[in-house]
């Protein structure tokens, strides 16, 4: 099957192409070549629009996955460029020189995951959490429930139900 990314392999031999939908492809690339690949996609292939830059915490593999979603407005194609970085030393090259709004995404990732983007504008300024002194809250080893109960004065008397069990009890009381 031919994909729009067949010729990418000739330039970036480490890239892996995986079609997800007709208009969405996944590209995986090592960390070092990511900026080069994204630059190639923007300047040569016409992926002009940065839709999103986000991260996933794979705590079992001790890795962060960074996902850059790009959009090609003329071909109506989306591409997700994925890369994995080390969780103990989370540093990534910045792409704010290509899209200015990437600086805001990177600032958010710096705050929420602790991923550093050296050279990105205002990356060390607080974004939402002013004066946060714990581990970054989107990391999976941060226990957000415990933190909330310790910090924010829970109101006594609040009950929490498991939605599945609760609805089972309510709708089919005989089957239990």
């Amino acid at each position: 099957m031919s994909t729009p990314f067949d010729n990418i392999k000739t330039v970036f031999r480490n890239a892996e192409v995986k079609p997800q939908r007709q208009d969405l492809y996944h590209l995986s690339i090592p960390k070092e070549q990511l900026v080069a690949l994204v630059t190639h996609l923007k300047e040569v292939e016409g992926y002009l629009h940065l839709v999103q830059l986000t991260a996933v915490d794979w705590i079992e593999k001790n890795q962060f996955q960074l996902t850059y979603i790009l959009n090609n407005p003329t071909k109506r194609l989306d591409v997700m460029v994925k890369t994995f970085i080390d969780r103990d030393n989370p540093t990534m090259d910045t792409i704010h020189h290509m899209w200015e709004q990437a600086a805001t995404y990177q600032r958010e990732l710096r705050e929420m995951f602790g991923i550093d983007f050296p050279g990105s504008p205002r990356v060390d300024k607080p974004f939402i959490l002013e004066g946060w002194d714990n581990i970054p809250p989107y990391r999976r080893d941060f226990d957000t429930k415990k933190y909330a109960e310790e910090t924010y004065f829970p109101r006594p008397g609040r009950e929490t139900n498991d939605p599945k069990e609760y609805m089972k009890k309510k709708l089919y009381p005989d089957e239990i």
Binding site: E130, P137, T144, K145, A148, T151, R158
Partner: protein, 213 residues
Amino acid sequence: MSKSDLEKRTVMSPDGEPIEINPLQDYFCDAHPKVHEPVLPIFEKFLNWARSESLWVLGFGTGCGAIEMRPLMTPRFDAYRFGIQWRPTPRQSSVFIISGYLSVKTLKRVIRSYEQMQNPKFVIALGSCTINGGMYWDSYNTIKRLDHYLPVDVYIAGCMPRPEAILAGFEKLKELIRQGKGEGANLYAQNFDWYKANQKKIIKDWDMPDYNW
């Protein structure tokens, strides 16, 4: 204004003379808030009636509930007929509506705005988020109980409460004011240290004076 602008420092005047400035003291007042006792009861009753019939709301939408306040101005609900108006500045308004979830960053701005309002002032809290956290019950950044940080007069439950419920909440607030129970500002001044300790517990980079009017 960034945080470093508020630090005590020495600057050069245009004449070339070094002057010491301390913005927190020069621009803000750190005086303890005063308790303003009600005047003569018969007089106070009349004034409370006037206060209850002229509720000026601070236009500050903190969360998703702000979208439920807009319909109140439309022909369908028309809150103006109850003497409710929206004012742009905390100085002139007497009712603060906390509309929904309140993150720590917003709470800081809310406290500043609340302290700039003039006594007597009232707080209406919308939605279950302000009561016990609501759907943000395990969030790392959303407060759970508003009454630990500000004195709340009326809670309106719901997620979000519809405009009818908000109008009912306004009626309840009017009732409380007429009964002389709308003393939130004095409560805040009396228990100032407790409120401040709670606020400082979660606002970690406290870069404003303790009491900023």
